[in-house]
């Protein structure tokens, strides 16, 4: 009887100690900013990423991001180049495989996601100033890692989750939702193959699952920082 009691006490102490060691949201974010190279990222003006998007085919893709919160992507579907962009006000796209090659404004649910992607410093940085709410929602597994789960209630009302590695403090997974015919379908981005470019770690592979099914894999081959960029590319073309 004495032995089980001391075991229980030991477990309680270890458990309490572990609970006490669980960092706060601010501590997690502080470590994340450091691990994600924010000291350098905040001085970076533009990022050009090029690589391959593997969906059914392996097709070239190029993503250009520039301060303040400008985003441009060109990618090929059935070997026809399509474009998406955000100039700080309008999120736009082309979808030539539908038979309409003209640029058009994005539907609102996709525009919301575009605005999130265009946030140069990411959702977590200065979240209060941006009008979002970030909460620590415990832990959840990402692969074999018990990651910190952060719930973000965005200014636009949308909810998403970011999962942060507890040892490296980089983002392992993003979970958000797309409304498809009245239903919220989960979209999961898994980030792998982090490599540093000018001291900033970037995920060179991003695997996406849509509704739980494998959707595509973005494989980045080259990243250039602070290259001169014509800001006109971010605006919806007139024609």
């Amino acid at each position: 009887m004495k032995k089980p009691l001391s075991l229980l006490i030991t477990l309680f102490v270890i458990g309490s100690f572990a609970m006490a060691q669980e960092p706060t949201l601010d501590e997690i974010l502080a470590k994340h900013y450091k691990a994600a190279g924010y000291d350098k990222l905040l001085k970076t003006k533009s990022i050009i990423m090029s690589g391959t998007m593997i969906q059914q085919d392996a097709m070239p893709v190029k993503i250009i991001r520039m301060r303040p919160d400008l985003y441009y992507m060109e990618f090929d579907v059935q070997d026809i180049t399509a474009y998406q962009g955000y100039d700080g006000q309008t999120a736009w796209m082309t979808a030539p495989w539908t038979g309409n090659p003209k640029p058009q404004a994005m539907p609102e649910d996709r525009a919301k996601d575009m605005r999130t992607k265009a946030d140069f410093d990411g959702l977590l940085y200065q979240w209060k100033e941006k009008g979002h709410l970030v909460e620590l929602a415990g832990r959840d597994t990402v692969g074999t890692t018990l990651a910190y789960k952060l719930k973000i209630t965005k200014k636009d009302g949308g909810t998403e989750y970011l999962f942060i590695d507890p040892s490296r403090f980089i983002i392992l997974k993003r979970l958000y939702f797309r409304n498809i015919r009245g239903k919220d379908v989960p979209v999961e981005n898994y980030f792998h193959d982090y490599k540093a470019v000018n001291g900033i770690p970037f995920a060179f592979t991003q695997d996406t699952y849509f509704g739980g099914q494998p959707y595509n894999s973005l494989q980045i081959e080259n990243i250039e920082l602070d290259q001169p960029i014509d800001s006109k590319i971010f605006s919806m073309p007139v024609k």
Partner: protein, 405 residues
């Protein structure tokens, strides 16, 4: 006189050694098998790949491979919805460009076929079914037909893509209409010699091959679902073999005939298949099939007792043992096309990596590789090797690499 003779002998010797004087006049080499009769090629490459001799970067959009004569390179490309045949010299300089017809732009826009050269004439097709015969010297058109307007064909899902077969005084094409399924034309005039009904299906994407037997020559190709064996004398259908399953419409790889056996790889169908052909060619018997090997359009190579083919669903290559017909290994090199030359395999994958592999008793081993960084769009074209030069078409660019020792 003696000096001239010595010089001639020296030149002859050097030419023989370097393989100079080879020609690639049609799709996937002399026998349409993807095997190039080259010698003295590098058995490994420098880390950055073999030396790039030149690049010609204004081919127009397309996926078709080049053909190479002793003086010229011919290749077609799409410029603003129109297919042009381009003639380059062997240093990659444009000699002429000749309009062929409207090209397919609905999906994967660009020229799809590889031209076929016979003597001083060249035969080209477009994705919208134009088949034209042009003079190799000037690009001047001798005759043309359209597989839709002249033969009531309809384009398959990704456009007409056949690299036409030319043999003797005939050119063979596949309009794929119910009654006018396969057609033999006089290659000098474009006049119809015979029409085969085949199985009455729309055409597929296959470049046909020939089985030559004492009794008859057989044209082997695919329509939408069916492997067809057609007597080349009169167009009669000797045999056919339909793929199992629903939604089958994408047969692309050229079948391979060897020692009374016929091999096919149909990713959109029954996978790898081996048939026994009867002595007179009038009958085929299925020996095995393995649908794990699901290569779609990268071609395949038979080396020793193995078939090497790109996969589709799983992005890898497969190794199929040809006696029993089972997949024995896989090569983790994404998926794509495969050719062979001088005892080595060349795998060009859809991520733009070109790999040099050494075949063996088990799985081929990667020796060297490099990434094709020039050019545009998808890496779908099949590479070509001729006279020690590896030609890779990547969209608008034709790249020539020195792979001779």
């Amino acid at each position: 006189m003696r000096k001239t003779l010595q010089l001639s002998l020296l030149y002859f010797l050097m030419s023989s050694l370097s393989g100079f004087g080879q020609e690639v006049l049609q799709w996937r080499g002399p026998s349409r098998t993807g095997v190039y009769d080259e010698t003295n090629l590098l058995k490994e490459w420098p880390e950055t790949g073999p030396a790039l001799l030149w690049e010609y970067d204004n081919l127009g959009n397309g996926y078709g491979s080049p053909v190479i004569t002793k003086q010229n390179i011919f290749i077609n490309g799409e410029f603003d919805t129109v297919n042009y045949l381009l003639a380059l010299d062997l240093q990659g300089k444009l000699l002429w460009k000749s309009k062929v017809g409207k090209e397919w732009i609905q999906n994967y826009p660009g020229a799809r076929s590889t031209p076929t050269v016979m003597g001083d004439l060249i035969y080209v097709t477009t994705g919208l079914g134009q088949l034209a015969c042009l003079e190799t010297k000037s690009g001047k058109e001798r005759w043309s037909v359209n597989m839709m307007s002249d033969f009531h064909g309809q384009p398959p899902r990704f456009g007409f893509s056949e690299s036409v077969l030319v043999d003797g005084d005939r050119v063979y094409c596949s309009p794929g209409s119910r009654d006018t399924n396969i057609v033999a034309l006089d290659r000098f005039t474009g006049k119809i010699i015979w029409i085969s009904k085949g199985e009455g299906e729309i055409t597929s994407y296959t470049a046909p091959t020939i089985i030559r037997l004492p009794q008859r020559n057989i044209l082997v190709t695919f329509s939408k679902t069916a492997l067809l064996g057609i007597d080349m004398k009169d167009g009669s259908l000797l045999w056919s073999y339909k793929q199992d399953g629903e939604g089958i419409d994408c047969q692309c790889n050229t079948p391979l005939y060897e020692n009374s056996f016929l091999y096919c790889v149909n990713g959109n169908g029954n996978g790898a298949i081996k048939f026994q052909l009867s002595d007179d060619g009038a009958k085929i018997t299925e020996l095995w099939k393995d649908n794990k090997c699901d290569g779609l359009f990268g071609g395949f190579i038979k080396v020793n007792d193995q078939i090497i083919s790109g996969g589709y669903e799983k992005r890898q290559y497969y190794v199929v043992e040809t006696n029993k017909g089972n997949v024995v290994d896989s090569i983790k090199f994404d998926r794509g096309s495969v050719i062979e030359a001088d005892g080595m395999l060349y795998l060009y994958n859809e991520k733009g990596q070109m790999g040099l592999f050494k075949p063996g008793k088990s799985c081929p081993e990667l020796v060297s590789s490099f990434k094709v960084t020039r050019g545009t769009k998808a890496h779908f074209s099949h590479p070509v090797i001729c006279n020690g030069v590896l030609y890779i078409r990547h969209g608008k660019s034709l790249l020539a690499y020195k792979v001779a020792k």
